[in-house]
Symmetry: C2
Subunit: 98 residues, 2 copies
Amino acid sequence: MKWEIIGYTAACLTMFGFVPQVIKMFRTKHVKDVSILMLCQVGLGIFLWLLYGMHLRNSIIILANAVNLATIFVAIFCYCYYRRRNKALEVVKTQVRK
Amino acid sequence: MKWEIIGYTAACLTMFGFVPQVIKMFRTKHVKDVSILMLCQVGLGIFLWLLYGMHLRNSIIILANAVNLATIFVAIFCYCYYRRRNKALEVVKTQVRK
């Protein structure tokens, strides 16, 4: 039972692992230092885990990776949105200075 | 065999998932937008996975999580180092301006 709790805790912590990063992106609206390559690489890895879980018909692997993939999608969306927005703001600032 | 390749590819991608973030930290020397809570949460989750893998005596779970944990440790170290360094630099800049 003790080991099951450790396993479930581990699964929960990693499943929602990118949630703090998404919250930070929302709060600060800055994403410059975040690696988009990390988000894409982990996203692709989690997607393949999801396929592998479907192949094994293991509902725990499917659920954990589906939730994780959803948060990574949100993180990638936030990254692209704020990156574009901040670049546009910089252009406006430069033009105002001129 | 096809599904084994998918499983191993998934494991490799997620195992080295934080490497692009560490490389970006090294290159830019800026970490302000990275969530330290994300690194600590995933780090703790991976550590518990490692313990769980040791309990199951599953060498693949142990190896994958040990490598992942090592890269997360490097990421946390880089975060703390550059965060401190950049704050010190800001203090120096403020004093020079005065």
